[in-house]
Symmetry: C2
Subunit: 427 residues, 2 copies
Amino acid sequence: MGIVVQKYGGSSVADAAAIKRVARRIVEAKKDGHDVVVAVSAMGDSTDNLLDLAGEVSPLPPARELDMLLTAGERISMALVAMAISDLGYSARSFTGSQAGVITDSVHGKAKIIDVTPGRISTALDEGHIVIVAGFQGVSRDTKEITTLGRGGTDTTAVALAAALKADVCEIYTDVDGVFTADPRIVPTARKLDAVTYEEMLELAACGAKILHLRCVEYGRRYDIPIHVRSSFSQLEGTIVAGSIDDQQHQESTMEQAIIAGVAHDRSEAKITVVGVPDKVGEAARIFEALAGAQINIDMVVQNVSAAATALTDISFTLPREDGQTAMGALAKIQAEVGYDKLLYDDQVGKVSLIGAGMRSHPGITAKFFAGLASAGVNIQMISTSEIRISVIVDQAQVDAAVQATHTAFDLDADEIEAVVYGGTGR
Amino acid sequence: MGIVVQKYGGSSVADAAAIKRVARRIVEAKKDGHDVVVAVSAMGDSTDNLLDLAGEVSPLPPARELDMLLTAGERISMALVAMAISDLGYSARSFTGSQAGVITDSVHGKAKIIDVTPGRISTALDEGHIVIVAGFQGVSRDTKEITTLGRGGTDTTAVALAAALKADVCEIYTDVDGVFTADPRIVPTARKLDAVTYEEMLELAACGAKILHLRCVEYGRRYDIPIHVRSSFSQLEGTIVAGSIDDQQHQESTMEQAIIAGVAHDRSEAKITVVGVPDKVGEAARIFEALAGAQINIDMVVQNVSAAATALTDISFTLPREDGQTAMGALAKIQAEVGYDKLLYDDQVGKVSLIGAGMRSHPGITAKFFAGLASAGVNIQMISTSEIRISVIVDQAQVDAAVQATHTAFDLDADEIEAVVYGGTGR
C-alpha cells in the first residue's frame, strides 16, 4: 500500500494508442491500492524532431534554449498521459520537473540532480491523485533555469523520485522483458535474470548493456531503491535490481544462484596504442594528463613490462570511438615531449565482458572464459578485470562469436528462446 | 531608447525560415537602441495538432492538463526564436509565462491576467539580453497552476508586458499591413488607417474586425500603451491604436481627420425573435434572465412598442451562433411562464457596423448610412447604436454588398488597391 514509481520511455508513449495502454497500466497499480507516481519520456521520436527544428534555426543553439525547447517534449507526453488516465475515471495531475521539485546543478544538457523536494507531489498523492512527472528535466538551484539531465535522464528522474518519496519500488517499463544473460539479438537462448545486484547491474551497464543507464543504477544503489525492469508490452515479471554483493543475506541466497549474471558487449569503443614509450617514471602520467586535458574518458589501459634490451614499452587504451580523433590530436602534440615512436588507431574492436558476483569466490572463471573464447577461435587483444568482472578486447567482427561462446561455456543458455526484443530508444 | 514590446503570431513563426525572418526583425529593433521584449505564439497550426492529439487520447480532457499540453507550443517557438537571435550574434533569453511573471486567475483555458511581476525580464534586459516570452500563458496566483489566456491571449500578453515594463510602444506583428477601413477581401480599395483611438478600435473589434482582440485593446486603453499593428512581412508603418476620443488634443487633431474610422462586419451571429410577448413589466427581464442563466452573451436587442390592440410585442436579439441551440432550449423552458407565442431562429444574418469618433459631432451620419444601404438594395432587420457606432443586422447574403455600399457612401475608398491580405490565424 506504499508508493510505487513507474517510468515509461519514449517507445511506451509513442502515440495515442500507446498512451492509452500506459494509462490502463498505471490505473491497475492504483487499483491495487498503491499511490502511483509516473515519470514519462517524450513521445517516440519527438525529441529528435525538436532537435531537427533547432538545427534548422541555428547550427549551434545555446544550451539554455535547447533545454527550454527539449523540455516541451515531456510536457506534451505527461499531459496526454494524465488526460488518458482521466478518461478512465481516475484523477491525475501532471507536473514539470521544476514543479515536481527536481533540483539540479546548472549544467545545461547534462545536469545532475542534487536534490528532490517533492512537496507538490506528496500533496497531490494525499489528495488521491495519480501523479505524472516530466522525466529528463529539472530546475537549477542557483539560477532557477530549466535544465535537462542528458542520457538516461528519465530513468534517473524515476529513481530519484522513488528515493525522495521513500517508494517501495521503482518500476522501469521498457520494450524488453528485463535484463538478460546476454543480448538476445546475439544469443537467442539468453535467459532473463529474475534478480541482479546493483554492483552487477552497474558492471553490465558500464560494459554495454543498454537496458539501464549507469546513473540510474548508481542512484538506486545509493538510496537502496529496488528497481524493477520490465516490459510495458506484457504482464511478465521482469528483473529486480536490488541488494549488494557485500550483503551477507544476499551472499547466502546467491550461493545457490548463478555464479555469472551475464555477458555484456560493447562495439562503441576504439583502441589507441602508443608505441615505443621510454620506460621511465612519469611518462604514462604525461600521456593520460594530455587525454584528461582534452576531456576524454579512458576505459581500459594495458601496459606490459618493457623488453630489457630496448627500455621501451607500448601503452594501449580504449576510449569512446567518438573521441578518437580528439585523442589522437592531443597525443600528437606531446610526441616530442614524451618521445614515443608512433600512434596506432584501431576502431574495429569490441569489448566482451563476463559479469557475476559469484566469480569472487569461484576460482577458475578466468580460465574457463578464455578457453571458451579460444574454442571459438577468438584472439584476445587486451584484458581488464574488476572484482566481479572480466573484460576482453577482441576484433569487432568476432564479438558475436565471443559472446555466444562465453554464454555457452558458462551454461547460461535457456532450453528455449525466451526473449522478445522490440527495439527502441533510450532517453 | 526605451523598451519596445513586440508580438509575433503563429503565422509569423510558422517554420524555421519564418522564425529566422522574425529574429532579424527583432535584432533590427535592438540595433536601433531599444530594449526589446517579444511575446510569441505557437508555430503555425501546432496548437491544432496538440488539440488533435488530446482528442485522440480523451474526448473531454481536463482543462488543467489541456493547459499543460498547449503551453508546450509557445515553449517550442520561444526557444527557437531565441536560438535564431543567438545565431545572429545577439543574446536572447526565453521565459515561460510563469517565469515572466504573468499572474492570472485560476480559470483554465480562459484565464485573466491579474498582475505582471516582470522581475526576471527586467534583470535580463539590464544584462543586455533580448527577452522572448511565451504568449498565451501564465501561472495562477492562488494555485500556482499553469493557465492559458484563451483567444487573443498572445496579444494580451504583449500589451500586459508593455504596461508592466512601461514600454514606449507595443508592436503587434500580423499578416496584414494594419487596420483597414473595411475588410480588404470584401472591399479591395479599403484604406489602411494610420491612427485610430482605443474606443474606435474597441468598437471595430467588437463588431467583427479580427485584427486585434478586444481584451488586448482594453488593456492598452486602461494603461495607455500605444499599440502599433503592422505586418511582419513588410517594413511599412502600420496603424497606431492610441489616444481617447475624450482627449482634447486628440479631438483637435482628429477634427481634420476622417469622421469615420471604418466599416466592420460579422457573420458569426444568429438572431432569435420571441414572438407575441405580453407587453407588461418584467417579461423582458424574465427572458434575459433565462438566457443569462444559460451563460449566453447577448449582443443586440430590439423591442418595438406593441400594437395597442393586442398588447403583445416581439423581442429580437442576436447572439453567437454557436450558442443558438442552447438559447432556444432555455427559452422553450419558460414559454408557459412568459406566455409568449413562438420562437423564430435565423442564422442567415450578418452585422454591418459603421464606426467613427467623428459621428458624435457630425449630424446626418445615420441617414447617409441607411441611404447607402438602400441604394444597394439591402434591407435592414435590426438597428443598434452607441456614441461612436451604428450597427445593422441584414441578410447574410447581403453583407458584402452592404459593406461595399457603406464604404463608398462615406468616401473611404482609396485611389488604388492598397491591401495585401496574407491569411492567418488568431491566437
